[in-house]
Symmetry: C2
Subunit: 99 residues, 2 copies
């Protein structure tokens, strides 16, 4: 869907410009999380996934396939569902449990 | 799928911690884009969407519904497919064409 809607513009914009939009939308999602308005929050989630899909199209990655290949019903690290990796509160200075 | 795998940990981590992971994975996606390794790129796209789904679960947003509500086959701004909004290269100092 995003390919049909936006690929002509995303391709012209290129990898760097499209990634910059993704980062900007992720920042806006953070602001919406602080405000807590449900409608705005849904809109910002949609924007982040739209730009992520655009970026995937630009670099020719199948977003759905990549996600299912990695998260195929079990955690890719501990191979269990639900995940039983050691709990990590935040990313700073620790290894991400899903890498 | 992400709810079953990770909700018990995402809920304990909370909004701020889960958002921090999303930002960190988005940064890693940027690094992978610079390197250009296809397998690593696919893996990082999967991680970003996994954390986005986790965050949506924590704040009780239906990610798929939110996306389809906003991007229902036409651009939400110009209402056309493909989008015919004025072209914007990057986000700095301009209005995002999809807001």
């Amino acid at each position: 869907m995003m390919r049909r809607l936006y690929f002509h513009k995303d391709f012209d914009r290129g990898v760097k410009g499209t990634y910059d939009w993704l980062v900007d939308e992720t920042r806006e999602l953070g602001e919406a999380l602080e405000k807590g308005d449900k409608k705005q929050l849904e809109s910002e989630f949609a924007d982040v996934i739209a730009w992520l899909a655009s970026l995937a199209n630009v670099v020719n990655v199948d977003l759905q396939k990549a996600t299912l290949d990695k998260y195929a019903n079990v955690c890719p690290k501990c191979k269990r569902s639900p995940c039983q990796c050691p709990f990590k509160k935040g990313p700073k200075g620790v290894s991400a449990p899903r890498l």
